[in-house]
């Protein structure tokens, strides 16, 4: 297991370097001159522009710029924004909010998705099953910003149950509606995944044996059916953790949540190249690590899987 984890960590290195190079190239290579764009129509004073260029090594060849960036990254330096704020500080400020939102979303989608999926799978073909299959299709098809706006107007403005936007006061109550909105699509996927695997496992030999030897139906479902059905669901949740921690650009925008997604989108709009690169690199890192954790979790859920 430790051997496998080490090998996977080694495999992550080329992917990480490649992804940072790709992101760096997208941000610093595509616009003709990120510094010139900063000044707007009037332009920066030449002295300031030259100083910024020197600070970000923009007067050197691309690959040298990237080398300096990678060197900073390896020594734990995420760089500073064009406004001279350390990117690490901005991330440290925004990340706890995103973490809160992501964990609430994850709990909602996992509990509701697995619960409903399990019930629908057990009663396959029933009215509950049919209803939730249709609901899940609709939730997958309607884009998150439509659901977000509809929820904001209905629960935030018309009914007044929760505040319509989050703003500065980030707490459980204000994040509740955004978490539900963010959970909708994943809830639908988890529901369908759980239902499919439960239907498959329900007729498996070991489940028939468990029933035949007189186990209580509740125990058959919870131990013999559910545990075996969770493997694909855990895979999905793992990729979703990566996506959620990356900050939901759209949801954070609609509800004005000061998280990572908002930080990134503001940086993109202001052409804050150093911030964009470092935040995106951070997200890629989170994604790679959450994938690794999921792969290691497999062995816990399914003892047949051995890592050599």
């Amino acid at each position: 297991m430790a051997w496998y984890a080490a090998r996977r960590l080694l495999q992550m290195i080329p992917v990480f370097i490649g992804a940072t190079l790709l992101i760096y190239a997208m941000v610093f290579l595509l616009p003709a001159d990120p510094i010139a764009a900063l000044g707007g129509d009037r332009g920066l004073p030449p002295a300031v522009a030259d100083q910024l260029r020197a600070q970000y090594h923009l007067n050197q060849p691309f690959i040298v710029q990237y080398g300096f960036y990678l060197k900073g990254l390896l020594t734990g330096n995420l760089g500073t924004s064009f406004t001279q704020r350390p990117v690490a500080d901005m991330l440290a400020q925004a990340f706890p909010t995103t973490l809160k939102l992501a964990s609430m979303t994850l709990v909602i989608e996992a509990v509701a998705g697995i619960g409903v999926g399990l019930w629908a799978g057990i009663r396959k073909g029933g009215i509950f099953d049919a209803t939730f299959l249709v609901i899940s299709l609709i939730l997958i098809a309607v884009p998150i910003f439509v659901i977000g706006f509809a929820g904001q107007v209905l629960f935030g403005v018309k009914l007044g149950w929760v505040p319509p936007t989050v703003g500065a006061n980030v707490n459980f109550k204000t994040l509740l509606l955004p978490a539900f909105v963010l959970a909708t699509a994943s809830f639908a996927y988890i529901l369908r995944l759980t239902r499919t695997t439960v239907v498959e496992n329900r007729n498996a030999d070991h489940v028939r044996t468990a029933t035949a030897k007189g186990l209580k139906p509740g125990r058959v479902i919870s131990v013999h059916v559910l545990r075996n059905s969770l493997i694909p669901v855990v895979t999905y949740l793992g990729t979703d953790v990566g996506a959620l921690l990356g900050g939901a650009v759209v949801t954070e925008g609609i509800f004005n949540i000061p998280g990572v997604g908002n930080l990134l989108f503001t940086a993109i709009k202001r052409h804050e190249a150093p911030t964009i690169v470092s935040v995106t690199v951070f997200l890629v890192m989170v994604y790679l690590i959450s994938n690794l954790i999921v792969d290691l979790l497999y062995a816990v859920l399914d003892p047949r899987i051995r890592y050599a």
């Binding site: 992917v15 992101i23 997208m26 616009p31 299709l137 706006f149 904001q152 990356g246 890629v284």
Partner: protein, 320 residues
Amino acid sequence: MPDAPQTTYRPGQAHFFADLDQTPLLGAVDAPDETSAPTSLWKDAWLQMRSRPLFWVSAVLIVLVIMVAVFPQLFSRTDPSFCDLSRSVGDPRAGHWFGFDFQGCDVYARVIYGARASVSVGVLTTIGVTILGVLIGSAAGYYGKWFDIVLSRVTDIFFAVPLLLAAILVMSVFSTHRTVVLVAIVLAVFGWPQIARITRGAVLSVKNNEFVTAAQSLGISKPGILMRHIIPNAMAPVIATATVSLGVFIVAEATLSFLGVGLPASVVSWGGDISRAQSVIRTAPQLLLYPGGALGLTVLSFIMMGDVVRDALDPKARTR
């Protein structure tokens, strides 16, 4: 010959029933008819699909959406960009069933004309990712060795960068020239890894078949075998995934337009209209619901179709 009691259709196994009097002891002899033509995967899939109501519902919806996208003038005679501020957020009236938006444009006409942008981005992007993904995935799977190692790592790199994020980044660089084709290219450049992974897996399972060995022994070149024998046999899972991802790319385009980095305001698009409905959402939520509903219905029809196609092309999933 009496009617054969064919309750289920077994492809490639049309059954032959002998007359009763010829076989007095057994009553009837049931044997596969060796002369019946073998059924291909595609014909089998079609027979399976056409018996499902979901297929017909989504097919009708998709045909309708494509008709609207190609010939919008058949469905609305109003010019979607003719706007009159005096009827801003006006109520529905004869000839203007959905009312007017904030700028005083006819909402129904905008919903109809908005289909073209969404559908063309969806179709173009899907074509793009399928070509890129199939080329890269099949090369990695078929040639193997270091080719596979390099291409799989490149796929991993692109997979690790979130699609929407990369698209926002690149689109924000192009403040002008934002067109349907540009959005499709950007989405395709970052959207291909999923198809590539699926193709690679399918090619790996196909390439050790006897017919591939037979083709090799006939002296067909490697690219020839790949193009004529392996890729056609590995396409089934790719097509199922591509159908679903068409819906996903339509949502991605709408999200980009919604965030203001997609299509410009001069192009009528659902995402853009939803974005503009934002400012008057408290007083006129219907402005959100019409384009949002049209977008949802379009995506829903492609997702349902993808589900049906996958079920039909994947015999393992079908038995459930």
